[in-house]
């Protein structure tokens, strides 16, 4: 009897599958890519500016263009003094970095990162949707999927705002307030653009969205129609505002207020830093899922199931990686917006356009599709 505990569909199997998915996707892929991005950002910006960038960190002879810089950074942050300003609110001060790091990790739960694995038929070629005992490569299959993403992504506002509030520092407070206003404003636009896509897909469940898009580029969400194409760019802009990075790094504003984490040092600062890059990974993953066909790849469904799963995961990872590179490219190209310009862009430009886009998407769905 005890052996059946780990059979397909039994509690033990479900828990083991969920844990291994979390290990592969969150720990290995997302955290790995986010740490890699901390190095890639400096290296890529160097290449864009005709410099060399950090290329020294090594393990004896093994240098690999300095990829190990993120290890060196982590070590440095661990051994730095963990300074807390005397007048800071110690509880909120400690809570803020956790609130900044946890939501970007939690939202990854709804992202499908590979073709469904077919338990017991892994050697055979299984057409999509005909599998008897599928294991979705998605940590949580929620019908409210994208809404879950927004709900938790908006929690990271608390991280930034509380950090500014608890530091007992005027600049930090200004940064925290700016972070709150900026992220709340742009979440409206983000929701509106997803609404346009929702009208087309008829579902908010990311796995089902990916299944509705085909493997070929002309079957992807971005080319479903004109409103969807517009929605992609609106979403890209809003998602980049949500990550609080240049050109939208008004809450941070290195050259004016240094930002909500000005009082943070050591590992606590590292959590903000990593959280920022996790947001980049998370928003890239969501965009790939909604607009760029997720893990779909042409011809891979003819392979045996295990190879299909492997190839689809690699393709998915490559798409997310390219999106991250695009975000870094934008970050190192454009100068920062002023706070009022940012608000004008959000409320007076993007929001009306995205609302009009929803109407357009509805008309498109009724008459053209």
């Amino acid at each position: 009897m005890s052996g059946q505990f780990f059979w397909y569909g039994q509690p033990g199997f479900v828990v083991a599958a969920a844990l291994s998915k979390i290990l592969v996707f969150v720990v290995l892929f997302a955290l790995g890519l986010a740490s890699l991005l901390t190095w890639l950002e400096r290296r890529q910006s160097a290449m864009m500016q005709d410099r060399l960038g950090p290329n020294r960190a090594n393990l004896g002879r093994w240098r690999a263009w300095g990829i190990l810089h993120f290890v060196a950074d982590a070590l440095k942050m661990m051994f730095k003094e963990d300074f807390i300003p005397p007048k800071a609110n110690r509880f909120l001060f400690a809570l803020a970095p956790i609130l900044a790091l946890a939501p970007p990790l939690i939202v990854l739960a709804i992202i499908p990162f590979g073709a469904p694995l077919c338990w017991g038929q892994m050697q055979e070629t299984v057409p999509l949707g005909t599998c008897v005992r599928p294991v979705d490569l998605q940590i949580a299959r929620l019908d409210v999927g994208v809404l879950f993403y927004f709900a938790f992504a908006s929690l990271s506002i608390y991280g930034a705002t509380l950090a500014g509030w608890a530091s007992y520092n005027k600049w930090a407070l200004m940064g925290g307030m700016r972070a709150a206003s900026q992220m709340i404003s742009y979440e409206v636009t983000m929701g509106m653009t997803v609404l346009a896509m929702f009208i087309s897909y008829g579902t908010l469940e990311p796995g089902a969205m990916v299944a509705q898009q085909g493997p070929a580029p002309w079957q992807w969400g971005i080319v479903r129609g004109v409103p969807h194409f517009i929605a992609f760019f609106l979403f890209l802009t809003a998602a980049m505002v949500e990550t609080k990075r240049t050109p939208f790094d008004v809450p941070e504003g290195e050259s004016e207020i240094v930002g909500y984490f000005v009082e943070y040092s050591g590992l606590r600062f590292g959590m903000f830093y990593l959280g920022e890059f996790l947001e980049v990974v998370g928003s890239s993953a969501l965009m790939v899922t909604i607009f760029l066909g997720g893990w779909q790849i042409w011809g891979a469904s003819l392979l045996p199931n295990w190879a299909h799963v492997l190839v689809s995961m690699l393709v998915w990872g490559a798409k997310v990686f390219l999106f991250c590179v695009l975000q870094l490219l934008v970050r190192w190209t454009l100068p920062r917006f002023r706070a009022d310009q940012l608000m004008r862009l959000g409320w007076q430009r993007l929001l009306p356009v995205s609302i009009a886009n929803v109407v357009l998407a509805a008309c498109w769905q009724m008459w053209i599709h």
């Binding site: 290449m47 864009m48 005709d50 410099r51 290329n55 263009w65 490219l329 190209t333 454009l334």
Partner: protein, 185 residues
């Protein structure tokens, strides 16, 4: 202080005001640099890319030929020190870091030579005036070497032997008419 308000009008026309085209152009420029530099750097062909950074300890930019390096004292044809202890260089030196004690030379053709010739490299401002002042090409700064680091101040004071160890024969003929001008008279 009078406040000056500078009004910067936003550009006219939605095309320029939306900054979409400008953004695209900017991304094109940076992406172009990225594509020129990154693949070549990965393949180890940095020379063909636009990157101007030198990986310093491994790669060094060569000094220009007129760079002023560590001092040296030149030698005569027979290996004796070329300096005649005329005290021109300590006089010219703005840092007062050259100290010379002259003595009589054993060679009857030569009047004076330095018994002690010391340069304090810690005080030297590397101006090159000593080289300019020397009438007989006895002191030079063409070695291309930096003053070596030392843990004691005394080690930074170079003596005659040390300065002569880098010395060579000068192509200039001493006293204008050659080494044996007395005999030829």
């Amino acid at each position: 202080m009078a406040t000056v308000v500078k009004i910067v009008n936003r550009p006219a026309g939605w095309k320029r005001r939306s900054y979409l085209w400008g953004t695209m152009q900017g991304l094109g420029v940076t992406f172009g640099h990225l594509m020129r530099n990154w693949p070549r750097n990965l393949l180890g062909r940095r020379a063909q890319s636009d990157i101007v950074t030198l990986a310093y300890p491994e790669e060094k930019r060569p000094y220009p030929p007129r760079n002023r390096g560590l001092h040296r004292l030149m030698k005569r044809a027979d290996g004796q020190v070329r300096c005649v202890a005329c005290m021109m260089c300590p006089t010219a030196c703005p840092a007062h870091c050259i100290s010379i004690v002259p003595e009589e030379s054993e060679d009857p053709r030569i009047e004076k030579r330095p018994r002690v010739f010391q340069i304090d490299e810690l005080r030297c401002v590397v101006c090159g005036l000593c080289v300019e002042a020397c009438p007989c090409d006895a002191i030079r700064m063409d070695t291309g070497i930096h003053a070596p680091p030392s843990t004691r101040r005394a080690d930074a004071i170079l003596d005659k032997e040390e300065l002569l160890s880098r010395g060579e024969l000068s192509v200039a003929v001493q006293a204008g008419e050659g080494l044996f001008w007395r005999e030829r008279k």
